[in-house]
């Protein structure tokens, strides 16, 4: 009857399908191919930059994978974890615990905050099923307000901050920039290694590798399987006895906690915290990078993360100088890369939504053909 599967696709269609499925990465490869020669950067400089940025960002991007697995889309709420990480770092900076121990302590401090924020976020998202992304996006703004309240008003009078170097001149609240000089790149330089003049942050990469292994392993666990099931069909999962709401909340909490760790790693590389802005852009850049790697709203792999982080940051490095060479104005490139980040997310979202609709209409088409045949046969 209507159960024919068309497996005899022509090669042309296959190539078309491959190009269609990978539009974004291919576009990026083209952009980079044009911009790299224009920018005039040396290969070793580029390599060095890319490696540094990979170490800085990969951990953060990886934390997006778990909510995608649970069908909750791109977790714009990862900013929450970033804020938790920053609070951890501010406190350790005040307690003057430096180097690796400081980092570890900051991560530990971030865990309870992340869990709390993740729980709130997860609960709210459960109330807004079907529009998780826009909701998590607004949550990130909302919690940002709470974060500002805590850091700007509570730190000092309520949460003791000893060192005035951290505080604003008025006596409470944290300064716009918190220096992490004693922690700067301590993790990156823990195991020194230089290849082709590029400094490799071996220890950071090791941590990233551990997280990748964790994710691979996690997919094989019962919880991972449940998340995949919930992500594909909440109703069926519920009928099978899986606690859907709880599973979704756990996925958000895990993502938030990991984002907290990721933020600590990110900031130890940067060497300072921009107290009120570090986290606000991080979500957008991480999501853009993941999408550049070929991920979509409902499907993302570790491979997407690495390809994405490489391509996206390559573009980020070369765009300003290529733009300046082309137009004589360095700002053009700056704006260009911001534009590209947003455009990538827009395109990915549009492609995801249209794909959803196309899947539906294709089903109708199949039925239509079947019935046409039917009525033809009936006429004869």
């Amino acid at each position: 009857m209507m159960n024919k599967t068309d497996s005899n696709k022509s090669t042309v269609q296959k190539i078309g399908g491959f190009l269609g499925a990978n539009t974004v990465p291919i576009m990026f490869i083209l952009i980079c191919a044009v911009c790299i020669p224009l920018s005039g950067f040396s290969p070793s400089y580029l390599l060095n930059e890319i490696v540094t940025r990979m170490g800085r960002n990969t951990f953060l991007i990886l934390c997006l994978l778990i909510p995608i697995m649970a069908g909750m889309g791109l977790n714009f709420g990862m900013t929450l974890g970033a804020m938790a990480g920053e609070i951890g770092l501010i406190l350790t900076a005040d307690w003057q615990i430096v180097g690796i121990p400081g980092m570890v302590l900051a991560m530990i401090l971030s865990i309870p905050i992340s869990i709390l924020l993740g729980l709130i976020c997860g609960k709210i998202l459960n109330m807004a099923k079907g529009r998780e992304m826009v909701t998590s996006y607004i949550i990130s703004y909302f919690i940002n307000g709470v974060y500002q309240f805590v850091v700007l008003y509570l730190m000092g009078p309520v949460i003791p901050i000893k060192h005035s170097s951290l505080k604003l001149p008025r006596g409470y609240g944290i300064r716009n920039t918190v220096s992490l000089l004693d922690m700067r790149q301590k993790l990156d330089d823990l195991i020194p290694l230089t290849v082709f003049g590029a400094k490799i942050p071996v220890a950071t990469f090791l941590l990233i590798a551990v997280l990748c292994l964790f994710i691979v392993w996690f997919r094989k666990t019962k919880l991972g399987q449940d998340m995949r099931a919930v992500g594909q069909d909440m109703e069926v999962s519920k009928d099978a006895g899986i606690n859907v709401e709880r599973t979704r909340i756990i996925s958000i909490i895990m993502s938030t906690v990991l984002a907290g760790f990721g933020m600590v790693i990110y900031l130890q590389n940067m060497g300072n915290i921009a107290t009120y802005s570090s986290h606000s852009q991080i979500g957008m850049f991480c999501i853009a990078a993941l999408l550049v790697g070929g991920a979509s709203v409902d499907r993302a792999s570790i491979g997407n993360v690495f390809l994405g982080v490489t391509l996206f940051h390559l573009m980020f490095i070369v765009a300003p100088s290529a733009g300046a060479k082309l137009t004589g104005d360095s700002m053009i490139g700056e704006y260009f890369r911001v534009f590209v980040s947003y455009a990538v997310i827009t395109i990915a979202l549009v492609m995801y939504e249209t794909k959803k609709r196309r899947a539906k209409s294709r089903m109708a088409e199949q039925l239509r053909l079947d019935q046409l045949k039917e009525s033809e046969v009936a006429e004869q």
């Binding site: 534009f339 827009t346 939504e353």
Partner: protein, 356 residues
Amino acid sequence: MNENAEKQSFMDRCREAVADFGLPRLIIAGFLLLLFILSPLVGADLPTQISNTINRFSWNAILVLAMVPMVHSGCGLNFGLPLGIISGLLGATLSVELGFTGGLSFFAAIVISTPFAIILGLFYGWLLNKIKGGEMMIATYVGFSSVSFMCMMWLLLPYHSPNMVWGLAGKGLRTTISLEGYYDKVLANFLQINIGNLSIPTGTILFFILIALGIWAFLHTKTGTAMTAVGSNPVFARAAGVNIDKMRMLSVVMSTWLAAVGILVYEQGFGFIQLYMAPFYMALPAVSAILIGGASVNKASIANVIIGTFLFQGIVTMTPTVMNNMIHMDMSEVIRIIVSNGMILYALTRKTERAK
């Protein structure tokens, strides 16, 4: 089985009215009332405060009004407001570039921005028709992308007016452009009422009333009725022979044009054109204002616009002064962020009748 629903007691109706109005809205209204009561007590000048609130209301009301058509046609909250704002900015800068001055430059700006708003609106509407159901997230990012794209354009487009371009380079528009000599306060100064410290920008308010009346009238026509029906139940509308896509497209164009006019009115009050990243975060305050006014994701009225803008702008203008005078601590920014985004969250998580 619901027959006895008619015989609801008065108490039930009251409770329903409160539930309908929404607890957050009550809290916000109460908070604003408290601010008004507190302000003379802590030594702030009440008439100045009220003038400020009314002024800011007059700047923002049309931007909030721009939410209405899209909500009516079921496209959700217009997070893509920046797209319309950009049309307005193009109109504003071109009007100055072409040498219009004074009040004329304001109307020239509206006229010039109209075709941009229509073209961008058509494109935006076409896109939203392709992705029904995912409008809000994509609208946000369409807004963001267009703003960052225009950042490049402001630098590259061949503007020459010395009042607008960077003095040194002789090209590329400045971040902020003064409207003195152009349409700075053209509406506000029209029939302005001044009583002591209280001043009311009558012209701007009249202009808003004019536009709002236009929208109100539109919603009472055959087409307006069809638009509301599309938002209320698209399948019903389709079964009644209404072309859903066309209605949605029309609503998006209207929203975009209103946003363009809205930003021009905002500029005439504020006195400056703000370019580059300025339109970036303009959608969120407008969205939360209309929600505070009692709108939901698929229902909005002009009353919602007026109440919402007044409450929202009231809080934004009153909190800094009152707070500063009270505890010498300016928490207004934080309060604004929490209130406005909290309101949006409330609206997004509230189950609508249709979602059942």
